[in-house]
Subunit: 439 residues, 2 copies
């Protein structure tokens, strides 16, 4: 269920393992109807995403659609720029359009012989998840499917998950942020070049809200405003073009000059919500959940898709490990994966605060610089958390634990006398001794 | 929606305020089909419940169905009894059968001219909650209702709430305990008298599980076993009569002797789940939630029904305060009530640990005795938390805060030298000084 990123990728994995796979998608085929505009924050592919794609031989093809982003470019209110690398030399995340990536994955799946059925939604299953009652949105007919496995890769608002909610002892939570988002755009120059540094993720952090921009292949940037949904200073409070222009003039004067369609974008694009979904169990009889359907997270670590693709690689490994015995594969999948997807949900919430508020903070900047320096000098002994999440396959749970440990130590280090003057001297070795995890 | 305890009581409140009210219930009329057996933990009415009933003139009638329980009777493994009063002299909670209470409320509502429609369930509403699409379970026909207000008093698994889940920014969680329950029974003696002390709530606390018993008017007790759902030592692990008898002989030997139908009860009654539901907002356009539909809690403070009846009294007061202006009543209702229902949900979880584990603990018993003594000497200055919840109308939120404060102070007091020997001497005044809240 679901022809999104995870559903399309997983279908290829399963087909390559020898299974008959069919994909049912409740929406129309985006290749015919066009990608839904204004709700598609650009994605940032990092190592877990690449691994997922590499597992079905698609890494090289997708690399061609991606633009490397080596660091965060912070836009201070006075127009000054402040660049923070994401990792070591040669480590970067990759901007890619969700729509383009999805289309590539569907095309690749169809080449493998997988059938896609659009405008088909799941209405219900029995309580053991053994059949799916489907509805065809074109003629409103219903019919039953009885596959060996029903897989819910149908996103944050998963219909398969709604049917699971009616079973006993299904733990579930959906929690919305007070913030929503608006997608906006920044076109290329007349000769198709970028108006801002191409190889960076741009952030205008303004404490309780922020604007971000990610590069596209055509020289444009996709911008997203994250702001309170309601209240005195909010998306809701921007009622007309005058309000909008004043808000941007006050908080994003440099960006505003580069956004000629701001008024049109803001008032014609929908306002998006930010939701975290946690649930358990993911497996119910012959049906199970994967990707956002099992664990929707907010986008501030750029890990939603990466995490979903990692679900696919891990499931694929478990199929080998348990020799296609799904009675063993599924319990192992949900047990090992749940603690890690809970951890990335928490990390994404922490990173939202970091992005909109802390990146502009002097103490925070020193902490980041100290961590980067120690990682540079002792690459085998110290990995900053951002790198653990984005440039390694270490379990998210370990990254969350390391986040807490590193942050405690860094806060202690910040209290040391004259630290801002002397961290970048010989003293860095003393600091490193504190920061490197003891075994 | 819902002819349960809260739906039936609220219908009377609204009718008395001059509204046309009709009640739709998805189940059959329990007065005709019989009360569903084996899933009806007896209720303990305390002050908030009485206030709710008194508001429509039903307190006296229900008092006749209730048996006062003045304290907890703890059954130690060796058969010894240990009695702990709930409050001061004259303060008690009241055992009543859920089915009987519900029938009285429905009869009273019908006397007021309110129509009840059974076997009718809500299927959906539009996203603004302005109409209800209903289904008649007898002939499977559907029809639309368009009342001025749709009220979801349809319990923990509220169907109206499921329709709200599809609206944007609806925060929701349902979390199950690892424990489930089995209802069991202990008959009266041959001459219709009680086999245990009548005016107490009996508890057999065994750390991770417990048995409780509440008295009925006919001389019997309704017993409930709360135990892990699955695992080595669990309800699930009791597979046959032999397992059951060994389990009861080992842990509840005194109770077992008084339960001749134990085997039949255990294997024929369903296993009940324990769920906490939190959500917000409760109001969506013309529809709103009340009682368990808005805030289902686990039963260990005996407050589920009391809290739902308090919802009704508070809503009734807000109707007066805002002169029937529902655009003001509903926001005030959900805002003021949410923090308090969250608090009683947390208190109920804390009390579960207290009931099954701590009541048998020596330190805990001293703490309870100290609190009771201080309350006795300084009745105007100190109220134990249990009394705040059960014998006052103080907001639950205040009781939760007071729980944390009192528990911290009592834990400090316990560390004092020779405290177990000297708390019940003149020294109690020194203790009281610590325990009484400073303003």
């Amino acid at each position: 269920m679901g022809a999104g990123l995870v559903g399309s990728l997983l279908s290829i994995y399963l087909k390559k393992k020898g299974y008959d796979v069919a994909v049912y998608e409740r929406r129309d085929d985006m290749r015919k109807s066009g990608v839904i505009a204004g709700r598609s924050i650009n994605l940032a592919i990092s190592d877990r995403g690449w691994k997922g794609l590499a597992g079905v031989g698609l890494e090289a093809a997708i690399r061609k659609l991606a633009i490397p982003m080596h660091g965060r470019m912070i836009h201070v209110l006075d127009g000054k720029l402040n660049y923070q690398p994401y990792g070591k030399e040669g480590q970067f995340i990759n901007s890619v359009s969700r729509g383009q990536l999805n289309i590539e994955l569907m095309n690749a799946a169809e080449k493998e012989g997988i059938q896609f059925h659009f405008n088909q939604r799941i209405v219900e299953t029995d309580l053991n998840g053994t059949y799916a009652l489907m509805e065809n949105a074109i003629d409103n007919t219903t019919y039953k499917l009885q596959p060996d496995l029903i897989i819910g890769a149908d996103g944050s608002f998963s219909l398969l998950r709604y049917t699971m909610m009616k079973t006993d002892k299904f733990n579930y939570s959906q929690q919305y942020e007070e913030h929503s988002y608006k997608e906006l755009s920044m076109p290329a120059t007349n000769n198709n070049s970028f108006q801002l540094e191409k190889n960076a993720l741009h952030i205008w952090p303004r404490k309780s809200f922020m604007l971000i921009a990610l590069p596209n292949l055509d020289g444009s940037f996709t911008c997203t405003l994250f702001h309170y949904t309601k209240g005195e200073n909010s998306i809701d409070a921007i009622k007309n073009e005058n309000d909008l222009n004043n808000f941007f003039k006050t908080y994003f004067p440099d960006a505003k000059k580069l956004m000629p369609t701001l008024e049109h974008d803001f008032f014609s694009n929908p306002t998006g919500s930010l939701v975290t979904v946690k649930c358990f169990p993911w497996v119910n009889g012959n049906s199970f959940l994967i990707g956002d359907a099992a664990h929707a997270i907010i986008p501030f670590y750029g890990q939603g898709m990466n995490c979903g693709f990692e679900d696919c690689s891990i499931l694929n490994n478990l199929i080998d490990e348990h020799n296609h015995d799904w009675n063993k594969i599924l319990p192992a999948y949900q047990t090992s994966r749940k603690i890690n997807t809970d951890a990335i949900a928490d990390l994404a919430k922490l990173n939202f605060i970091e992005m909109r508020d802390l990146v502009a903070d002097a103490d925070f900047q020193i902490k980041k610089k100290i961590a980067a320096k120690v990682a540079e000098i002792y690459p085998d002994k110290f990995i900053p958390v951002y790198s653990m999440v984005s440039f390694s396959q270490l379990p998210y749970r370990e990254a969350l634990e390391e986040y807490k440990r590193q942050d405690d130590v860094l806060n202690e280090i910040l209290l040391l006398k004259d630290i801002s003057a002397k961290w970048d001297t010989e003293y860095i070795h003393t600091i490193a001794e504190k920061l490197i995890k003891k075994n």
